[in-house]
């Protein structure tokens, strides 16, 4: 690899101060340091440095997301063929191929657009390219529905990089989690395309296949019936939970009584809750949802890796689960509507709760920074997530809003934790002066 080193050495003067391409130094530096750890040595302070750097840390997080990505690719294909009733005709390889063709373009668009914007800012401001987006660029594809139009992914990525990160000063300075803000942007800007039951599963027929007249039967090239369309295949766990409240209200209206006052209406809601997916299915992740969020197993593998390497915070993850379970138990006890009867495990495995908790809530920049603060921060994320889900049917995915809300609150939590330390010091001083 000596020849590569020589190339870098030879090119470097052109990009340094006073060189021909001085302006492009951040770009050159970005590529050179991707290839090599630079030969900089310690100048002041410690003479030896730990082998960890931000590139390695970010790389660790990306590796932790790989199980989710791989599972998401397969599951995208599986949900597609399953909804059309074609899993017999199209096996695992076809499913992976279909998923890959859907997911990989989203990943590419997210990275190319996001890094492009970052590079532009770095060159304009003359600061080095920081590694933060390497993680955001992988997170964005994993939290959008597989069928999201690529231009929407691009717009959301640009929005989050510019308005969430760069205007605050770049990596390490943002208040909100950039990837999650991109998701929130999509959610609020394109609600029609990206929520409801139709967003999650691709229902386009493969070439040569056609619907029979009634639209629920799929025919192959020879006109034989090969599949049966699953009418509610696209419904996620959360929309099913949500529907229970709607069903109760409808029934109550039908009976002409106040909502909740009627046992019959309540039962109608409970009927809607009747399980479409077994608990283990949502644990394994063979359910519709955003690309990377469905499989709790894949998420737990990632979580294990993050915790082992010390990159993810156990405090946030555990207190988040505790907060969610705490809120669920309160709701279960109250039991005022059918949604409130959903159990803790179902809540934990549904929607983006686990994915958000493991990969987004633990983002060190937007989370609380003190150790005590992390516990409080995680607890309220779990608590608010369940509260938003149950109380506000307009936003089925409570996790996104809960994390963003706590991102905003994190500096406040830290402030009080730190003030406590300052107060202790002042009290010690007072005690000491009183003694003398």
């Amino acid at each position: 690899m000596k020849f590569l080193e020589k190339i870098v050495d030879k090119l470097e003067p052109n990009f340094e101060k006073g060189g021909k391409y001085e302006k492009w130094f951040p770009l050159f530096d970005g590529f050179a340091t991707f290839l090599f750890t630079p030969k900089h040595t310690t100048k002041k302070g410690v003479h030896i440095r730990d082998a960890v750097d931000l590139k390695r840390t970010m790389n660790t997080v990306i590796i932790a997301m790989v199980p989710c990505l791989l599972f998401g690719i397969w599951n995208t294909g599986y949900q597609h063929y399953n909804a059309l009733g074609l899993t017999e005709e199209f096996g695992v390889l076809d499913q992976i191929l279909f998923g890959a063709l859907k997911v990989i373009p989203v990943v590419i668009v997210s990275y190319v657009v996001g890094l492009g914007v970052e590079f532009g800012f770095c060159i304009a401001k003359g600061h080095p390219i920081e590694e933060g987006f390497l993680v955001s660029g992988m997170l964005i594809p994993l939290i959008v529905p597989a069928d999201t139009p690529l231009w929407m992914v691009a717009v959301a990525t640009i929005f989050s990089v510019v308005f969430v990160k760069e205007v605050f000063g770049g990596t390490g300075m943002n208040i909100l989690n950039p990837a999650l803000t991109a998701r929130a942007f999509l959610f609020f800007a394109y609600p029609k395309q990206l929520s409801g039951d139709s967003a999650w599963v691709n229902m386009e027929l493969p070439d040569g296949y056609s619907y029979a007249e009634n639209g629920t039967v799929v025919l192959n090239e020879l006109g034989q019936k090969v599949g049966q369309v699953d009418a509610i295949a696209g419904a996620t766990q959360l929309s099913r939970f949500n529907a229970s409240i709607g069903a109760m209200k409808d029934k109550a209206e039908e009976l002409g009584e106040a909502v909740g006052a009627n046992a019959q209406a309540f039962d109608a809601g409970l009927d809607k809750l009747a399980k479409k997916y077994e608990l283990w299915e949502s644990f394994v992740g063979v359910i519709p949802g955003s690309i990377g969020e469905t499989s709790v197993i894949a998420i737990l593998i990632g979580a294990g890796f993050l915790l082992h390497t010390g990159v993810g915070s156990l405090k946030i993850m555990l207190s988040g689960i505790f907060g969610a379970v705490f809120m669920t138990i309160i709701f279960n006890t109250a039991g005022l509507n059918p949604y409130m009867t959903v159990g803790p495990l179902e809540h934990l495995f549904a929607g983006g709760f686990m994915f958000g908790l493991v990969f987004m809530a633990t983002d060190p920049v937007s989370a609380a920074q003190t150790e005590v603060g992390k516990v409080i921060y995680g607890f309220f994320i779990g608590l608010f997530c369940i509260m938003i889900r149950v109380f506000n049917p307009a936003y089925p995915e409570g996790m996104m809003l809960a994390i963003l809300f706590m991102n905003v609150m994190a500096p406040l939590i830290d402030h009080y934790v730190i003030q406590n330390n300052i107060k202790q010091r002042l009290e010690r001083l007072k005690l000491n002066t009183a003694n003398h």
């Binding site: 690899m1 590569l4 080193e5 870098v8 340091t33 290839l35 090599f36 750890t37 630079p38 030969k39 900089h40 040595t41 310690t42 002041k44 302070g45 410690v46 003479h47 030896i48 440095r49 730990d50 082998a51 960890v52 750097d53 931000l54 590139k55 390695r56 840390t57 790389n59 660790t60 080095p128 920081e130 590694e131 933060g132 000063g169 770049g170 990596t171 390490g172 300075m173 082992h308 390497t309 010390g310 990159v311 915070s313 060190p364 920049v365 989370a367 920074q369 003190t370 150790e371 992390k374 730190i418 330390n421 300052i422 202790q424 010091r425 002042l426 010690r428 001083l429 000491n432 002066t433």
Partner: protein, 502 residues
């Protein structure tokens, strides 16, 4: 009187090149140098000029801010050169040693009877006062203060640190005299002396030692075999005998009188006197604690006993690039070339010479001079080389990380040959909780550093800047993912607070 402190935070960094327990006299050097930069914050005013003849203990310059604080020659000879840098700042004062070996005579002192003011004056005039430092700020103590306590750490926990028990072997009497003198300064009337609760054994894998086996034979083994306890009964026995011999703090410390003995357990920075003060008698705003290095206590003791400034100390020559790492008896300000020369391993890498330890030491040239407060020299390989995908490869035998993002955690007892590469580039603070794990103090280090960066003095005071000095945060700087210069940031903050508030 005894306190026990258990520290759960911190980490020991194991490096190659621990000094073997062999003491030799350093080859004599012709020239010694005093470097005013060793005394942070001191503005030197020369008393003597080039060509002046000096004896050991003759004052050469004083501090412009406090003319009572004098700095004197460690040897007898002639000032041959005053090296100046930019804006005529004095960098080095070089003294050529003559053969007379003469001392300024300050007269012997009866420590029990001497009035405190006379004691102070004697130390000030002989230049020995400069070894008494103060917290906050870690500068030379102001003789007008009366400190609420005096602290001495009886061990050093930093990487490759010398064994203080070995440094002070045979100096019980002088050490005790020094302690007695220091106890007179403290408002509480004693010295806080701290020793390790369990001593960490530091040996090189090839260090040989012998033990007696079950049937009474003398058997010689190397440390690597002995520390592999699982391997054999003999190894366990060998390690046990080693522990019996070296595993306890020396009686120089444990039998010392006039002290409150503290037992500190924990990893680095447990040996830092600042950490010990924080847990035993923390410095509040407006308070002062004095600290003296253990070896300098003995030097003060000897001075009081003999009336002469005998500027000798023992230092450890350590580091992976040293052929025979061991202890040397040297003169303060000694030229280092004679120590390094012929004692370096053959290597492709250029060596880096450090006066001090790898975390807090100062880079020196091969023919440089020993730092005023240093008891250690370290030689490490420079890391001025590219490393292909160095940030991504998970298993790299020559790199070490306290985090588990690199697989160095699978070999917890391995000693490393670390080089001086930055292993990355400086970034904004991103990772949290990293510093907190390595600083056994009730202080929020990152928030304190940020308050230093924005020069918010109120925040610095609130967050405890009076209790901390750069060396306490050096381990955090080592581990920092964002490669922030933590010690430098903290020093800037301390300088600002000192200028504005003290």
């Amino acid at each position: 009187m005894s306190v026990q402190i258990k520290l759960r935070k911190g980490a020991d960094i194991k490096l190659q090149g621990v000094a073997s327990r062999i003491k030799v006299d350093a080859p004599p050097s012709d020239v010694v140098a005093i470097k005013p930069s060793d005394f942070h914050g001191v503005i030197p005013k020369l008393i003597l000029r080039e060509g002046a003849k000096v004896k050991a203990g003759t004052p050469i310059f004083f501090d412009k801010e406090n003319d009572r604080i004098k700095f004197s020659s460690p040897v007898s000879g002639e000032i041959i050169e005053i090296v100046r840098g930019a804006r005529r700042v004095i960098l080095e004062i070089k003294i050529k040693i003559d053969k007379t070996n003469s001392f300024e005579d300050f007269g012997t002192t009866d420590v029990t009877k001497v009035p405190v003011e006379d004691l102070k004056n004697k130390l000030l005039n002989s230049g020995l006062w400069t070894f008494i430092k103060q917290r906050p700020f870690n500068c030379i103590a102001n003789p007008d203060d009366q400190p609420k306590a005096v602290f001495v750490s009886g061990f050093d926990s930093s990487p490759l640190a010398p064994d203080y028990d070995f440094l002070l072997e045979g100096r019980e009497e002088d050490f005790q005299l020094g302690i007695d003198a220091l106890a007179k300064f403290a408002r509480n009337g004693f010295v806080n002396l701290n020793i390790p609760a369990e001593k960490v054994l530091r040996f090189n894998s090839t260090d040989l030692f012998s033990y007696t086996d079950d049937v009474g034979r003398e058997i010689e083994v190397d440390y690597k075999t002995a520390s592999n306890v699982a391997a054999s009964h003999g190894a366990a026995k060998a390690l046990q005998s080693l522990k019996n011999k070296y595993g306890k703090a020396s009686t120089v410390f444990t039998k010392a009188k006039n002290v409150s003995l503290g037992e500190i357990s924990g990893q680095h920075p447990a040996g830092n006197v600042g950490i010990q003060i924080h847990h035993i008698n923390p410095v509040n705003k407006g308070e002062v604690v004095w600290t003296v290095n253990a070896q300098d206590v003995a030097m003060i003791g000897e001075f009081l006993r003999t009336g002469n400034f005998n500027a000798k100390k023992v230092i450890a020559l350590t580091g992976s690039e040293v052929a025979l790492p061991r202890y040397y008896s040297v003169t303060l300000g000694q030229n280092l070339e004679s120590i390094f020369e012929g004692n370096l391993k053959e290597s492709e890498d250029t060596p880096r010479f450090i006066s001090g330890n790898p975390l807090t030491g100062t880079k020196v040239e091969k023919d440089g001079y020993l730092g005023a407060y240093d008891s250690q020299l370290t030689v490490l390989p420079e890391g001025n080389k590219y490393d292909l995908f160095g940030w991504a490869v998970p298993i790299q035998p020559n790199k070490f990380s306290l985090s588990r993002t690199l697989w160095s955690w699978i070999m917890p007892s391995k000693a490393y040959r670390l080089n001086t590469n930055m292993n990355g580039e400086q970034r904004a603070f991103v990772v949290t909780g990293e510093y907190e794990k390595l600083l056994p103090m009730s202080i929020f280090p990152v928030q304190l550093l940020k308050s230093c960066l924005v020069e918010d003095i109120d925040a610095m005071e609130g967050l405890g800047i009076y209790e901390i000095v750069p060396e306490d945060i050096a381990l955090c700087e080592f581990a920092c993912t964002s490669k922030q210069p933590a010690q430098e940031i903290l020093q800037t903050g301390l300088d600002l607070v000192k200028k504005e508030c003290a």
